[in-house]
């Protein structure tokens, strides 16, 4: 009977039902689209933010390792649990050297690193690792070193040495000499401008430290720290530790990398990690806020159109009350109607929202997205939320109808 009542009441008022339906579809589809691309936006944003510099620094632990890390361990970084979150890394080997060029002598730092090294690790996708990948803000005039005796010189050091692109710099460390061809001058605005950057292998020979690395910078996609992430892993229960390890906090990724690099200690570079975290958090709250606003707007539209159809429905509701319908029975009819419209509205909203998310991601990010499994329930739930929030006021109006006033005569 309820079903017949509902069916007929829908067929009787197609316009008003359609209006409510459209409002719900709008709400559900906007929520679906926003939430669908919010993951994507966060991801793209996080990738963008990665270009502000590495967020994890690996250094030799004080106790073991003899002050250096092993270059041979580096490929293992590509095999860790969070390997897909690690967007790049680069090793450094530092040493003090006496530089001479154009008759000038200067003491400075020689820094061996990878610039763009093709890294092949068995069982993993080949990748290119090095400074060029993780420090895209370096402004290099000229070119990047390709051969073993090519180097780029920090702008400040180059000025003092009077070096120019195409010239040479002689580096001397404890009697061992290496002549570098200057292929580029690098400006970073930081301490790098005081250094000379040369291929790692050449630097290891010069410093007589074969296979050694002083530190490794790692750039990883991480999730913002929350209260749980801040807890000390050493004091966690087994379950907590598991959960912590399987969440891409900057600390757990750091821990992950530390485990494969013998004698290393990994620490987050907090000024980068926390700035990034708070930016992502803000972005997420903004998306959530927009979603909620869209839902509120739809709920208001639902409420308005239901209210408008109330005038037309009040004789019928008055009659139902007169012949003995109580508040629960009247509510059941309303809720039944709302439920049907919102289930269908949620499904249509999902389909539309998913399309919309696809379009946005194609036009804004130039990429396609796979909609996450939770998007469908989310769409249905948003439709419910919109429908029920929008029904509260009309239902109260319906319940307050006095049959005697309406059924005069």
């Amino acid at each position: 009977m309820l079903f017949r009542l509902l069916k007929n009441s829908f067929l009787k008022r197609p316009k008003s039902v359609l209006l409510v339906f459209i409002s719900i579809v709008m709400g559900a589809s906007v929520a679906t689209a926003f939430l669908g691309i919010s993951g994507e936006i966060s991801h793209k944003m996080a990738l963008e933010l990665r270009s502000y510099g590495a967020n994890i620094l690996l250094e030799p632990s004080a106790v073991e390792g003899g002050g250096f890390l092993r270059e041979d361990d580096l490929p293992k970084i590509k095999t860790v649990f969070w390997k897909y979150n690690i967007t790049g890394f680069t090793p450094y080997l530092f040493g003090v050297a006496d530089f001479s060029a154009n008759g000038k002598r200067e003491r400075g730092i020689v820094s061996g690193t990878w610039f763009a090294k093709n890294l092949e690790v068995a069982g993993e996708e080949p990748s290119v690792q090095g400074v060029r990948g993780i420090a895209p803000w370096w402004d290099v005039q000229g070119g990047w070193p390709a051969g073993p005796d090519e180097a780029i010189v920090g702008a400040a050091l180059a000025k003092r040495l009077g070096s120019a692109i195409g010239g040479h710099v002689e580096a001397t460390v404890r009697g061992k000499q290496q002549r570098f061809q200057v292929v580029g001058i690098v400006t970073t605005g930081g301490y790098e401008e005081e250094q000379l950057f040369a291929p790692l292998i050449t630097t290891q020979e010069l410093l007589q430290l074969p296979g050694k690395v002083s530190r490794v910078q790692v750039s990883a996609l991480t999730v913002p720290m929350d209260a749980f992430g801040m807890k000390n892993p050493a004091q966690m229960t087994k379950e907590e530790y598991e959960k912590w390890y399987c969440t891409a906090y900057v600390t757990s990724v750091a821990k992950n990398v530390e485990e494969v690099m013998a004698g290393s200690r990994a620490k987050p570079i907090w000024q980068i990690a926390s700035a990034e975290g708070s930016l992502l958090k803000k972005l997420n709250s903004l998306m959530l806020l927009l979603t909620i606003l869209a839902l509120v707007a739809s709920a208001m539209a639902v409420s308005t159109s239901l209210m408008a159809s109330m005038a037309e429905r009040s004789p019928e509701i008055a009659l139902m009350k007169a012949i003995g319908a109580d508040r629960y029975q009247i509510s059941a009819i309303f809720i039944g109607e709302t439920l049907i419209i919102s289930v269908i509205g949620g499904m249509v909203g999902y389909l539309l929202g998913d399309q919309l998310a696809g379009i946005i991601s194609r036009t804004v990010f130039n990429s396609t997205i796979a909609s996450p499994f939770w998007l469908f329930p989310t769409a249905i739930i948003s439709a419910f939320v919109v429908a029920f929030a929008g029904s509260v006021a009309p239902l109260r109006r319906a319940l307050s109808i006095e049959p005697v006033r309406v059924l005069k005569g």
Partner: protein, 225 residues
């Protein structure tokens, strides 16, 4: 137990300054057919609505079927209406988008459970066995009123209220409806209170009360019945 199905003491209903019903003492014995007459605005509908639990008095006492209606909540009154009262209106007040049988079943639904066979039987009793699937718009005034009667009696009420149920009907339909009501009362033994403007219609009852300006001014017993 009181022999009266309806007992009022000083029953009053006022709307601000307007006193629609002045203190009224009325007893209706179970099974009586009471006609209520009076000019327009004399308080007939007000009385019906109070007795039917559709409205609340502003003063006095009101017992219907042993139930103190003043003590009932909103939902309690709704329950009272569906269990105890059948109402026939002047403007049929059928749901326009439901068929005749669905209109009857709706009353069953609010009362307990829709039962199509029972609803069909009720419509057959009022002579509409052939009009089950028609919507109110496709029925004549007399037929619509008979659907209303079927709806009013479907849950076997103890009290049948009619507020000018024949007010919109022609002479022939009026006679038909009245005869139908009389026949049904013979079978179901419910109490009838019927508001009417028509002396002939009033004459179908056992007793007639006349209201004027919210007051009971005259009462007459029909002895021809």
């Amino acid at each position: 137990m009181s022999p009266y199905i309806i007992e009022t003491g000083g029953l009053t209903r006022s709307y601000g300054d307007i006193c629609a019903l002045k203190p009224l003492d009325l007893q209706v014995p179970e099974g009586e057919w009471l006609s209520v007459m009076g000019h327009s605005g004399s308080g007939k509908s007000t009385l019906m609505n109070l007795v039917g639990g559709l409205d609340r008095p502003t003063g006095g006492t009101l017992q219907v079927g042993g139930e103190n209606l003043l003590a009932l909540t909103e939902d309690g009154l709704a329950r009272f209406r569906r269990n105890f009262v059948g109402i026939i209106f002047q403007q049929h007040h059928l749901v326009p988008y439901l068929t005749a049988i669905e209109n009857v079943m709706m009353a069953q639904y609010f009362h307990s459970m829709p039962d199509e066979a029972e609803a069909r039987h009720a419509l057959e009793r009022v002579g509409l066995g052939h009009r089950l699937k028609n919507r109110p718009g496709e029925l004549s005034g007399g037929e619509q009123q008979r659907v209303c009667i079927a709806r009013a009696i479907i849950n076997s009420p103890k009290l049948l209220l009619g507020d000018e149920p024949t007010g919109n009907l022609d002479h022939k339909s009026t006679i038909m409806v009245m005869e139908l009501l009389k026949e049904l009362r013979g079978e179901e033994r419910f109490t009838v209170i019927m508001v009417t403007h028509n002396q002939d219609v009033a004459a179908w009852g056992d007793r007639t009360i006349h209201l004027d300006d919210g007051m009971l001014v005259r009462e007459e017993r029909m002895n021809c019945q």
